[in-house]
Symmetry: C2
Subunit: 117 residues, 2 copies
């Protein structure tokens, strides 16, 4: 059984490689893609692309469907949701900074307005 | 020079390990932590914790400050922001589903209301 932590491990591990991230980004823009279409923009050979797809498939981030001689790859983005939920708790660190910036801008505005009176 | 892609590689690589994620989660709840305090809840030896801290430090996710014999570790969450931005483009997939679910619930409600008349 794959538990929540192991699923997160696999998702983050799949996202470590820039080629795998680029594959996911390509699939995000299209409904589905054949493997040769998918491999076209990359300066790597088809077997290397296949290996990346194996990792993405193991992480549950893509599905592959073989019909005749064509394999169709589709994005399955759901596991990324848990990764995002995990990261979200750190959001307060940078959004906090923005809040302070907004508060500062507001106080400056109030100051300017009081001078106008 | 470390470019944007390499920084993302390092951030995701740092997040692959559940112990490293747990270290970051502990640091999120405290301002700062000594290494021995940090290591306490983990069933691994101090040198193993130190190795994890090296990875986190290389990824720019923690800072270590040595004063006398005590090393103080602090969270530096900024690199996670880029990781979150990267993941955010996939958000529409699950929020889209929720939108469809909301639309479905609304149509059912309207149907129920029209029957009441």
């Amino acid at each position: 059984m794959v538990n929540h932590q192991e699923r997160l491990d696999r998702t983050f591990a799949a996202l470590v490689d820039p080629t795998r991230r680029a594959i996911l980004a390509r699939l995000e823009r299209r409904e589905s893609c054949s493997i040769s279409e998918l491999a076209r923009p990359f300066a790597i050979k088809l077997p290397a692309v296949m290996k990346h797809l194996d990792v993405l498939d193991d992480a549950g981030l893509v599905t592959r469907l073989k019909i005749g001689r064509t394999v169709t790859v589709r994005l399955r983005p759901q596991p990324m949701r848990a990764a995002m939920t995990w990261l979200r708790r750190y959001e307060r660190f940078w959004s906090g900074k923005l809040d302070r910036l907004a508060a500062y801008a507001e106080s400056k505005e109030a100051e300017a307005r009081s001078k106008e009176r």
